[in-house]
């Protein structure tokens, strides 16, 4: 018996010989289907992988044990043997009344956490009666103008028992303030609240577009939230640093890791500069990734992201608390992989993607519904999506052991490659002066755009097959029942908003808004004055305008 390195070298030689001998002979008769095989992200894939000695020789540094640095194998010691991931279905539409009903339905069906989708005017900070909101009220999520809407949205949902994730960024401080005040009114103290706000503004500039203020004041809002929650809402996840939308915009898997972690680096830097200690807020940082259909690449991506993040937090920022080093993440299956054609096929895609997320060790999961390439999902479609998670959890057996794909020659190799590629990209961003500079230069947007273009071209050329789209098409598509946001939504919401405006104490509202503007111009933490204004039923739009007086507004500057 030789050393592991000798064994690996011997096997590598054998594989070479195999490729040049029997394989070459067989290829002459039966050529492979393609001349080059690549992953969904265009990474080259070999015919056969052998063992890499480093898995054994360098085991502690590369893999470690579950729940231990560098967390490649997972962030908890027992993973799904202890508890399944949180099954969290993103939902929200029309007005607070309708969304509240949908949440109660989902809880009855066995979801274990809420995930609130807001409409675009709420996300950007326009009231429902603003000209800018035309056509958008209640469309991609629920419309929230004031505390009154939030009270309705969460009615009958015990905030001390349920954890709530809110996809909200530019206006995160305001919606969090509303959540805290609704908690108060339910008799739940802030330190008993559980949940997550997305609060990741950088990826809005990169990929998602719901920014309102320029980067600098936006980052200040974020560190104000960090500071406030560390003291008052200690169980709240103050940010969910999101690669999901970067991937949706067309990035590769490696770019998804790199740009997300580059954003994380910026947030940690900002918080440290604001005087916070990395081990105080580090444990509250959470992540959000996409899961696409290339199963092994996705599993490798999750593992590589965990390993790279742990190393960055330890080596770059000197974090010592193991909880600061853990990359905990939510996953959503890939919205862009859904096809409008033959929508039933999407159920299968979602199942593969959800499996990849579970094999990759996710902490929570949203599975898309089959009809989402066409509209918001129907209740029936959402139920199938949720059942998909339950089947993986309860029937597939993949949850019985921790990190079941570890040691796969292919998956370990892909993990190494993705980590190296992501790290090289982060270095390029560092050289450009950090992620904000790289965004301002359009570097990141350009990288994503080029990947998206290449991917699109590979489909248009037929090189990449999408079943039902560029192969196995079936002509006329049968009609499927789609969900519709009621036409009356805007009118009902605007009427409610007007009632709120009439019934509140407008003097108090004005004073509270003036306090916000004043605080924005100073160094004071913005959360207390925002909470005060929310309590007086100041609207999201009004609060944003009060901030914009000092902050200004951001407009896209790269094509």
């Amino acid at each position: 018996m030789g050393s592991t390195a000798e064994t690996a070298a011997r096997i590598a030689t054998a594989i070479d010989a195999w490729n040049n001998g029997p394989v070459a002979k067989s290829l002459a008769k039966f050529p492979e289907q393609r001349t080059a095989f690549v992953t969904a992200s265009d990474k080259k894939v070999e015919r056969l992988y052998g063992p890499d000695a480093s898995i054994f020789d360098d085991y502690d540094r590369k893999l470690g044990l579950p729940g231990q640095y560098p967390f490649t194998r997972g962030v908890q010691p027992t993973m799904y043997r202890g508890r399944f991931w949180t099954m969290r279905q993103y939902a929200g539409f029309a007005t607070a009344e309708e969304s509240n009903k949908r949440y109660r339905y989902l809880l009855e069906q066995g979801t274990t956490g809420l995930s609130v989708a807001f409409d675009l005017p709420t996300q950007i900070g326009y009231d429902s009666d603003d000209d800018m909101a035309a056509g958008e009220v209640g469309k991609v999520g629920v419309a929230i103008d004031s505390l009154a809407d939030m009270e309705t949205l969460l009615e009958g949902i015990p905030l001390d028992k349920i954890s709530t994730s809110m996809t909200i960024n530019a206006t995160a401080a305001i919606l969090l303030a509303m959540y805290i005040v609704v908690g108060e009114k339910q008799g739940v103290a802030a330190d008993k609240l559980n949940g997550t706000i997305q609060n990741d503004i950088l990826k809005e500039y990169i990929a998602r577009g719901t920014y309102r203020f320029p980067p600098k004041p936006s980052l200040r809002l974020i560190s104000d939230i960090f500071g406030y929650c560390t003291e008052r809402v200690p169980n709240w996840n103050t940010i969910s640093i999101s690669g999901y939308h970067i991937r949706e915009a067309g990035s590769t898997a490696a770019q998804e890791i790199a740009f997300t972690l580059a954003d994380a680096i910026c947030y940690v830097d900002t918080a440290i500069k604001a005087g916070l200690k990395v081990d105080d807020f580090g444990p509250r940082l959470a992540f959000f990734f996409a899961s696409h259909s290339d199963l092994f690449e996705e599993v490798a991506k999750f593992r590589a992201a965990r390993r790279l993040y742990a190393r960055i937090m330890k080596e770059r920022f000197g974090a010592a608390n193991p909880k600061s080093l853990m990359l905990r993440f939510h996953t959503q299956t890939g919205g862009v992989t859904l096809t409008a054609q033959q929508p039933e096929n999407n159920i299968v895609r979602v199942a593969i993607q959800a499996l990849a997320a579970v094999l990759g060790g996710t902490q929570s999961l949203h599975t898309n519904s089959k009809d989402e390439a066409l509209a918001l999902p129907t209740e029936e479609a959402v139920t199938v999506a949720l059942r998909t998670q339950q089947i993986i959890a309860y029937e597939s057996g993949v949850t019985n052991t921790v990190d079941p794909l570890a040691g796969s020659f292919f998956v370990e190799k892909l993990t190494d490659e993705l980590e190296a590629e992501a790290e090289a990209l982060i270095k390029q961003i560092d050289e450009r002066g950090g992620v904000v500079a790289a965004i301002e230069q359009g570097f990141i947007q350009k990288q994503i755009e080029q990947s998206a273009y290449r991917f699109g071209q590979s489909i248009d050329s037929g090189d990449r097959v999408i079943v039902g789209v560029n192969r196995f098409t079936s002509g006329d598509e049968p009609d499927i029942d789609l969900f519709e946001v009621p036409e009356s939504t805007t009118q009902r919401q605007v009427e409610k908003l007007q009632r709120v405006r009439q019934s509140r104490d407008s003097k108090k509202v004005e004073a509270a808004l003036a306090n916000i503007t004043q605080a924005a111009a100073s160094d004071a933490n913005l959360m207390p004055p925002i909470i005060d204004a929310v309590r007086e039923y100041a609207t999201v739009g009004e609060i944003c305008r009060a901030l914009a007086v000092v902050f200004g507004e951001y407009a896209e500057s790269h094509s």
Binding site: V140, T339, A373, A375
Partner: protein, 137 residues
Amino acid sequence: MEKSLKPRLLIGKPGLDGHDRGAKYVAQILRDAGFEVIYTGIRRSPEQIVDTAIQEDVAAIGLSLLSGAHNVLFGRVLELLRERGAEDVLVFGGGTIPPKDVPRLKEMGVAAVFTPGTPAREIVETIDGLLAQRPAV
């Protein structure tokens, strides 16, 4: 021979949704097909889009929208074009659009609707065809 000039096109994103992957991709394939394409960026009002289209003297406007606000916003673009005496400018659209809405959009005056997964070739050919049918101006 000098290539005959293809008409100028505008790709715009009305409304508040920031998902510009599709809009940019369509702009790129139209560029690859020899068009000069003016791209507006995200979160543009119908007024901004129509004023831009008029100043740029484009033959067609492509609108991309994923938020579901298409009925309102596409309609507003068409209305503004009429108000400005520019109803000869073609309007086509794409995005997350339920099949049920397509006839309604066409009735409003949208010349073509491309849903996700439409091949690039089909988009280019359709636009080429629509522009060829246009009365010479």
